[in-house]
């Protein structure tokens, strides 16, 4: 199988010059034929805001990844020797055809697409990131979930030897996250293997992470080793740490505050000292695509 070299995808200079603005969602706004892989340029939607793609240096140096420490600069400093090869992933639980495979095999199973999504952190800041990956539903289709597979649980790696943060009980390790099956099957939900046309840096969740763009960033688990379909709603690490602050859904919602701080606005990363906050949008601007998933649900209760 041929592997994509980072240089074969989008050269960084194009990102720099492209000055792409975030517009309404258009899957496959353009596609390039590179080797045997298609790259679909998808643009994230963000109704009223126009935002530029965040600089690579900020995306890769300002991270929340408590496995490597709680400071934003810890992940880039402490993850450089983290071993991501070999890396196996198991997809099991309530499925007809469980799978166990390497990340390299997984990368070659599906065409790699580029998705430019806005990422909104629960702390009140946002970035616009050009991810490389493939929709999760394609993988889930391969394993055929049974009727009991109502939720999808994501389990990250447990390796305190390599991950200094896991030596402290900051969270319930390994990191656990979850989605409802219809959220997991949504075409916007992707498994990510790269960013900015390059391989995914360790500090961003290499070799495989989730991205659910309408939810707060912490929902998008990093360094995943197990995707498990389950019958009951899984308890995520953050729900366990503080159940009244971090809910299962954690959809971006300017009208539902974090109990301790407001979610009405956000700071744009890379804006500099003299840059104003911008208003936060419902479902991070992806409301047209995802609001039907939550019809008749009280989002204050199911936060």
């Amino acid at each position: 199988m041929k592997k994509i070299k980072s240089s074969e995808i989008t050269p960084e200079i194009i990102y720099k010059n492209r000055r792409k603005f975030v517009q309404n969602l258009g899957l496959a706004a353009g596609s390039m034929f590179i080797g045997q892989n298609f790259i679909n340029l998808a643009q994230a939607s963000s109704n009223s805001i126009e935002q530029e793609i965040t600089e690579y240096r900020y995306i890769t140096t300002y991270n929340n990844y408590y496995e490597f420490g709680t400071k934003k600069s810890d992940p880039v400093e402490n993850s450089q020797n983290f071993k991501t090869k070999p890396w196996n992933i198991t997809i099991d639980g309530e499925v007809e055809k469980p799978l166990k495979l390497s990340v390299d095999e997984l990368k070659n199973m599906f065409p790699i697409e580029e998705r430019i999504y806005k990422l909104r952190c629960v702390e009140g800041w946002s970035m616009v990131i050009p991810w490389l990956g493939f929709p999760l539903y394609k993988l889930l289709d391969k394993v055929s979930p049974t009727s009991k597979g109502k939720f999808v649980k994501f389990i990250s790696v447990l390796d305190p030897e390599q991950m200094p943060g896991q030596r402290y009980p900051i969270l319930d390790w390994p990191y656990k996250e979850g989605l409802r099956i219809d959220e997991a099957m949504h075409p916007l939900t992707i498994l990510v293997t790269g960013l900015y046309g390059k391989e995914l840096p360790n500090q961003n969740g290499s070799p495989l992470r989730l991205i659910v763009p309408w939810k707060y960033g912490f929902k998008s688990a990093k360094a995943i080793v197990n995707i498990k379909l389950v019958d009951k709603m899984p308890t995520s690490s953050w729900m366990k740490a503080s159940p009244n602050e971090y809910g299962f859904y954690s959809n971006v919602n300017p009208r539902v505050d974090h109990p301790r701080w407001s979610q009405a606005s956000e700071r744009v990363i890379g804006g500099g000292i003299i840059s104003p906050r911008i208003p936060t949008t419902m479902f991070n601007g992806y409301g047209d695509e995802v609001s039907h998933l939550y019809k008749n649900m009280d989002l204050k209760k199911y936060f």
Binding site: Y58, Y62, A264, G270, R277
Partner: protein
């Protein structure tokens, strides 16, 4: 001699201003410069609270009155940095958009205690002069015990804004608890005497 030492201490206490100015001109504040500036002054406020609270224990330990000479200046620096901290939040972060700010003060406990701590600093700063000490006599001491409450509010402000239990706020919490325990111990032993 002591006059010069006070001037030297004064300029040392301006260190947070020098260091942040350097970072601003050096453009090395990183991804979230506004947050960094806000947190910089917030943390220095806490450091100066701890320094101010250390002076009378140091006096007892070293049996020297020299520490008390600096206490007022350090206390005024608490007010100075707390005020810059607050105005960074109001001006630089929220651009004087009062509606969300007022909302935060009313609804968010970490902003509420932070604001309350700043309010309580005002009477302390206003009564810090020699004249006021004479004027208020015994009451001056009572008023200035507010610093204990301010210290507690300050550390709560830091703890509540963190996503989970972090080392940073925990360290300040421990230091402040130790400094406050000194008071209880000293007050007990002094009443015995």
């Amino acid at each position: 001699m002591s006059k010069y030492s006070k001037i030297i201490v004064f300029f040392i206490c301006l260190w947070p201003i020098y260091s942040i100015s350097y970072s601003i001109f050096d453009n090395s504040l990183g991804a979230e410069p506004v947050k960094k500036i806000t947190h910089h002054f917030g943390e220095w406020t806490l450091i100066f609270i701890c320094l101010t609270l250390s002076m009378s224990p140091l006096k007892k330990i070293t049996n020297s009155n020299i520490w008390i000479k600096y206490r007022r200046m350090l206390g005024l620096f608490v007010f100075f940095y707390a005020t810059i901290h607050m105005f960074t939040y109001i001006g630089l972060d929220y651009w004087f958009d009062w509606k969300p700010i007022i909302n935060d003060v009313i609804k968010k406990k970490y902003i509420f205690v932070g604001f309350l701590a700043w309010l309580l600093l005002i009477p302390l700063a206003a009564t810090s002069s020699q004249k006021m000490i004479k004027l208020l006599k015994k009451n001056w001491k009572r008023v200035h015990r507010l610093i204990y409450i301010i210290a507690i509010f300050g550390i709560l402000h830091y703890i509540w804004l963190s996503k989970t239990i972090f080392f940073g706020p925990l360290i300040y919490l421990i230091i402040i608890i130790i400094l406050l325990l000194f008071r209880i111990k000293f007050n007990k032993s002094s009443t015995k005497v």
